[in-house]
Amino acid sequence: MVKFIFRRLLVMIPQLFLLSLIIFVLAKQMPGDAVTGAFMGNPNVTPEQVEKIREQYGLNDPWYVQYGAWVGKAVKGDLGQSYTHKQPVTSLLAGRVANTITLSLFVLIVSYAVAIPLGILAGRWSDTWVDKLIVTYNYFSFATPLFVFALLMLFVFGFILGWFPTGGSVDIRIESGTFAQFMSKLHHLVLPGLSGALLATFGTIQYLRNDIIDTKLKDFVKTARSKGVPEGKVYTRHILRNSLLPIAAFLGYEITGLIGGSIFLEVIFSYPGLGQLFIQSITGRDFTVVTAIVMISGAAVIVGTMLSDVILSAIDPRIRIE
């Protein structure tokens, strides 16, 4: 198992290297650079000054020289300077990463808390009114675009009812480290988190429902019934264990999906996370930040898929990783 994780991490290095190369080259291909983004339309800056700044930051070097310099610093933990925020990318990202992880975890937990019971109910009582109700909800959640639903939530619960804050991740007036601050963070999380979670349930519900319906007909379930196992135990001991397996294994991949989803959420709810920063950085041509965020997401995807494999091998005796 340790050997397996080690091997996967080792494989990750060339993957990340390739990813960074592609991102770097693509970023360079885009029109404009950090300087254009920072000074465009500013009449007080002359083209000569701009050129000087470019030279100073090494922006006129060939791309491979720039790339080499970037990699050299990156391995030491220095992801460069943000041109727009005028601070090291590393410190700029630190707080954002924490926020995004909090939001993603919140979405993940709430979506599973909703989806797993609903999936089980729908699967066990398939073709009853309970099932039909759940399936209907599921198709609604599948068909509704996130930005529409999120805006609606924001409008109703944020503006009209005023139950939840409409932006930010915490009330900055509250002293940090206190319980009140924790509650405030939670308060800020509810609206973006719920909006994300309620639409993230589709896959889990659908998969779980179908898998339970399939598993119900399997021979080993007949064996269980022929042993005189009570109906409830047939589900908890036999059917659910088998049907939840792929869901658990999917957890890792789910994480990768959340990274994409959080961009919308963070922008709509003005939640200071990676996604929001990502959009700002693209519009601001702040490529050091963009590259860093893509690298972090890429690493998260790779770790997520690895996590899936590890979880699966831990719970399914048929899969053993040496």
Binding site: K218, D219, F220, K222, T223, A224, R225, S226, K227, G228, V229, P230, E231, R237, H238, R241, N242, L245, I315, D316, P317, R318
Partner: protein, 339 residues
């Protein structure tokens, strides 16, 4: 005669197909005694598996209608609510399934799966259960019991898994066992081992066994009595020696002569004309085998044929057996309309 264990009376199992119920098991009566193996033999679609699942109550209640009686230890299993049936299944009534590759839960250890029926039917301590499992493993011929106890099904061969399935069915000393094609999915040498094992175990346990199979060889090796099933009905019931020495019903005779076995040499095998009728299109009033022996005159059959006891313990359905003979020449058999 030994004590009766299971008594099936006029069992009718009907499936809902597009709003109508059609009987797949159509009025079956059978008695199984202690220490007796009754084989139910027939080809696919004859209703033998539907019969097995009816006895143990594994049909989907929403789409299946069960009529008649299945009496075990003085209770009619068909009239019991599931909770009460669960007190009997796995305890007095065990089941052995066809495919050992799918009959075991892939995520539970062998030990857990054999212990499970004891959880519900026996008050045993944890260590007593384990002891019993190891005992059972030895009984079914598994040598390294303590190791297998901790293993998962995928780590074992098909033959080993079928031994586990048998151990599960025996866990609570059932008085009655239903074995649905227990050797069909296995290789010949493994099949022989499992057959010998079951004969051995039956001697020890004294339980009655209903053996569902399509293989007359398995019947000849294992059964005490045989019921030949065709289109939902028993067409012939006899003790095993009588059935093989003096088969009477046209279907039994046709079936026996279509097997390439030690008995037939290089000559042509007998072919049964036509196909097994679907339960929706079955003519239930007359002899159900009549369309497949068209060279036999219609007068030979009776209306609503009954089982006739032609000699003690030997029953044959319909009078047509008296006039039955094989056709001189094999008739081309593809002129019927396919559906």
């Amino acid at each position: 005669m030994a004590e009766t264990v299971l008594e099936i009376e006029n069992l009718r199992t009907s499936f809902n197909i597009k709003g109508n119920y059609y009987a797949a098991v159509d009025g079956v009566s059978l008695t199984v005694h202690k220490n007796e193996v009754v084989a139910i033999v027939g080809e696919s679609g004859c209703g033998k598996s539907a019969l097995a699942l009816s006895i143990i109550g594994l049909h989907n209640a929403k789409t299946t209608k069960l009529e008649g009686q299945v009496n075990l230890k003085g209770q009619n299993l068909l009239s019991l609510p599931v909770e009460k049936l669960n007190k009997i299944r796995g305890k007095d009534l065990g089941m052995i399934f066809q495919d050992p590759m799918t009959a075991l839960n892939p995520l539970a250890t062998v030990g857990r799966q054999i212990e499970e029926p004891m959880d519900y039917h026996m008050k045993l301590s944890k260590s007593a259960k384990k002891k019993r499992v190891l005992e059972l493993l030895e009984q079914v011929g598994i040598k390294n019991g303590p190791r297998v106890y901790k293993q998962y099904p995928h780590e074992l061969s098909g033959g080993m898994r079928q031994r586990i399935v048998i151990a599960i069915s025996l866990a609570c000393n059932p008085v009655m066992l239903i074995a649905d094609e227990p050797t069909t999915a296995l290789d010949v040498t493994i099949q022989a081992q499992i057959m010998d094992l079951m004969k051995e175990l039956q001697r020890i346990t004294d339980s009655g066994i209903i053996l569902i199979t399509h293989d007359l060889g398995v019947v000849a090796e294992m059964a005490d009595r045989v019921a030949v099933m065709y289109a939902g009905e028993f067409v012939e019931i006899a003790d095993v020696n009588t059935l093989f020495a003096n088969p009477l019903h046209p279907y039994t005779r046709s079936l026996l002569s279509s097997i390439p076995s030690n008995m037939t040499d290089k000559e042509e095998l007998h072919v049964i004309e036509g196909i097994v009728p679907s339960i929706q299109k079955l003519d239930r009033g007359g002899c159900r085998f009549a369309p497949r022996i068209p060279w036999i005159s219609e007068d030979a059959h009776e209306d609503n044929p009954m089982l006739h006891e032609v000699e003690p313990g030997h029953f044959v359905r319909c009078t047509c057996y008296k006039d039955f003979h094989f056709p001189e020449e094999r008739v081309e058999d593809e002129n019927y309309v396919t559906t």
